[in-house]
């Protein structure tokens, strides 16, 4: 008996050290989490600032005080109706579209473990573009509000086709196969779009403005049709974060740990389709955001999806609203589309980041 009780006592200094080390690591971990939470709060603050600017800046600049009055006591004046009917819906759309693109980019990269993966790879942009071409070419539709459902269905069908093709037989979708399937389907659809726009000037004239990506002329009614898809997608994506962390360990290890790999992949694909489909249907194809914002977020948070996903969403929303606002003031007359600005403003920042840091590998 005495020998047995003596044995642990002899090892106790080691154990103390171990306990201390563990406590230290836990404290360090808590510190990192606090820092990341603070960072996220700062990012959200910046986002709110961007939204405020987006509402007040434009062809007619409206002071923030008037914006507030328009919200609490709308007297139907010109300024107030501009704020409520034009500026706020557009700012809200910008936030949602940006967040959806950033989130789906992060999901795609986590899912395929390919740093080049982005929503466009899943065929979403080309699917939407092909459907919009059909809408114009066959049905003669001409306004973004009328394209929405075509774009959404096109995006969803293309993404499902890619996913089905990318998953192998009874087994699951492997990263490279998914990427290849995506490029293949996107190429076919893009080729069809090319063929139609070469043969028909009317379609080309419409599609060249749609494919830039813009928030001009999108109203509250459009948003009311599209938000359920966006919100569902965002919720699924954020809930999936822990499962995605496990999947990132590799298929075998994740399966050994009891993760439902196929279920996670399928849910992630559903979230991507919902978010990207809705975003592309609303604003047209915006290429740069989904691809690069997750890389920036990863440089801040590291590979933990629980932080990476919210950061990607908020940073992408910041990028999109800021770009949209900038586009309204940068030209002496008229405005520059948000898709052009995101790339022109985002790319130099992105390149500076790539150069400064050793980018976190996936």
């Amino acid at each position: 008996m005495s020998a047995q009780t003596a044995a642990p006592e002899r090892r106790s200094p080691d154990r103390d050290e171990a306990t201390q080390a563990l406590a230290k690591r836990t404290r360090a971990g808590a510190k990192v989490h606090t820092a990341r939470a603070l960072g996220l709060l700062v990012a959200i603050g910046v986002l709110l600032l961007c939204v405020g600017l987006s509402v007040s800046v434009g062809a007619k600049s409206i002071p923030l005080g008037t914006v507030w009055e328009a919200l609490v006591s709308n007297d139907g004046s010109y300024d107030h109706s501009v704020v409520v009917e034009l500026r706020i819906p557009r700012a809200v759309l910008g936030v949602f579209v940006g967040a959806a693109l950033g989130l789906s980019g992060a999901l795609m990269q986590g899912l395929t473990r390919n740093p080049l993966a982005e929503p466009g790879i899943l065929g979403v942009n080309s699917g939407a573009a092909a459907a919009v071409v059909v809408a114009i070419f066959v049905f003669g539709l001409t306004s973004p509000g009328a394209y929405v459902w075509f774009a959404f269905v096109g995006a969803a069908v293309a993404a499902l086709a890619v996913y089905a093709l990318g998953s192998r037989g009874r087994s699951q979708a492997t990263p490279v196969r998914l990427a290849l399937a995506g490029t293949a389907v996107a190429a076919v659809l893009q080729g069809l779009v090319y063929a139609v726009i070469v043969l028909d000037d009317f379609v080309f004239d419409r599609i060249r403005f749609w494919q830039v990506g813009s928030l001009v002329g999108r109203d509250l009614e459009l948003f009311s049709r599209i938000w359920p898809f966006l919100v569902t997608g965002v919720v699924i994506a954020l809930l999936l974060a822990p499962a995605l962390n496990t999947v990132a360990l590799g298929d075998d290890l994740a399966a050994a740990l009891g993760a439902h790999i196929n279920r996670t992949r399928l849910l992630a694909a559903v979230a991507i389709v919902l978010m990207c489909g809705a975003a592309t249907a609303t604003a047209g194809p915006i290429w740069f955001v989904g691809l690069t914002v997750p890389h920036v977020a990863r440089a801040i948070t590291g590979p933990d999806q629980r932080w990476l996903l919210p950061y990607s969403a908020v940073l992408a929303a910041v990028l999109l609203t800021a770009a949209d606002t900038l586009g309204r003031v940068v030209l002496p007359t008229g405005e520059l589309e948000v898709g052009i600005i995101t790339a022109l403003v985002g790319a130099p920042v992105f390149i500076a980041l790539v150069r400064r840091k050793r980018m976190a590998q996936i």
């Binding site: 740093p115 080049l116 192998r168 037989g169 399937a181 996107a186 076919v188 740069f288 390149i351 790539v354």
Partner: protein, 356 residues
């Protein structure tokens, strides 16, 4: 290039052939020989069809006679001055794009790697669109603008990615950033130009072989004669580098030098192809992947990619000329549809049989 698992059997099923002294030796694989033969035969068949078909149809014996310099004047004109150079442009441009794509994919170790990633295609397209829309340049000027744009962009990307040497990963990401900026510049120009000019620029960006003649053939052929031998000779080293830069270094491959030379040569090859035919999509991406799957090889096969690229482009040109005749499609639209469909079919077949 990491995900394709080598299939047992594909590696050892070869027969070594040696010269008597043993100084030159190589493996002869029956599958490689058969597939190469089939590809060459297919290219020849489509090539013949390109010479025969059109508004003015010419039978095969008359084509042969015209090639030998005999026959009616109209036959001679169509075969030797119109269709033959165009078909050769298709073969050479296709082969160039196939090889360049294989090199880029090998260097970036990513099946999505293509000349796009170092910004070459984007730069060339932007150069050309600027020349068309802002300066209203001629065909030759547009080609020069494209090459200048491509070289300038690729150089810029390489410089921006440089920091204690160039890492593949950083090169890709910088390339993406620059390409995104250039795309938005092009979008801006195209939405602000008037419809006719915008359309001319768009057709050029899709890539077309309409009205290409002997001047273009000679231009591409000279570039290929200079650039192809060193690239083909580098094939084995590229395959070693696919195993990782450190492993390759340990095996005696001069990694930095091979990388720089291969990038330069592949960019120049792409530049020649783009200057002649515009940035034809998908061949650089699909040809190496298709060749790999057909040859069941474990690494990059530059020669296979060249043949596959040529076959894809001649087939696409045949379809582009005759599918919606008399309307002429730009060949880039067709390469995307054909190459994409073929890749879809390949993936579907693998999906059915449950192979990786």
């Amino acid at each position: 290039m990491t995900a394709t698992t080598p299939r047992p059997g594909s590696v050892r099923s070869g027969r070594p052939v040696r010269t008597r002294s043993g100084r030159v030796s190589f493996l002869v694989r029956p599958r490689t020989a058969a597939v190469t033969g089939a590809l060459v035969a297919a290219i020849a068949a489509v090539f013949a069809a390109l010479l025969m078909l059109g508004e003015y149809e010419i039978t095969l014996p008359r084509v042969a006679a015209a090639l030998a310099g005999q026959g009616e004047r109209l036959d001679l004109f169509f075969v030797r001055d119109v269709r033959l150079p165009r078909a050769w442009v298709a073969v050479l441009v296709g082969a160039s794009l196939g090889v360049a794509g294989a090199v880029f994919q090998s260097l970036s170790r990513n099946p999505l790697g293509s000349p796009d990633i170092i910004g070459f295609t984007g730069g060339a397209a932007t150069g050309a669109v600027l020349t068309i829309l802002v300066f209203g340049g001629s065909m030759l000027q547009v080609s020069l603008g494209a090459v200048a744009g491509g070289v300038a962009t690729a150089g810029l990307v390489y410089l921006l990615a440089m920091k204690n040497g160039v890492q593949g990963y950083r090169l890709i990401l910088v390339g993406i950033g620059i390409s995104a900026m250039l795309t938005s510049v092009r979008d801006y120009l195209i939405t602000r130009a008037d419809l006719t000019d915008a359309k001319a620029a768009q057709v050029w960006m899709i890539g077309s072989l309409n009205a290409r003649g002997w001047t273009e053939v000679i231009a591409v052929a000279v570039c290929m004669a200079v650039l192809l031998p060193p690239l083909l000779a580098m094939g084995p080293r590229l395959r070693l580098m696919e195993m990782g830069e450190q492993t390759a270094h340990a095996l005696g491959v001069p990694v930095q030098r091979t990388q720089a030379v291969a990038l330069l040569a592949a960019s120049a090859l792409t530049g020649a192809a783009i200057a002649v035919a515009g940035p034809i999509s998908f061949i650089a991406l699909a040809a190496p992947q298709l060749a790999r799957r057909l040859l069941r090889s474990t690494g990059t096969t530059l020669f296979g990619a060249a043949l596959m690229g040529a076959l894809l482009l001649v087939t696409a040109d045949l379809v582009a000329q005759h599918a919606l005749s008399p309307a002429q499609l730009p060949v880039g639209a067709v390469t995307a549809v054909i190459g994409g469909s073929y890749l879809v079919w390949l993936l579907y077949r693998e999906w059915r049989t449950g192979r990786a």
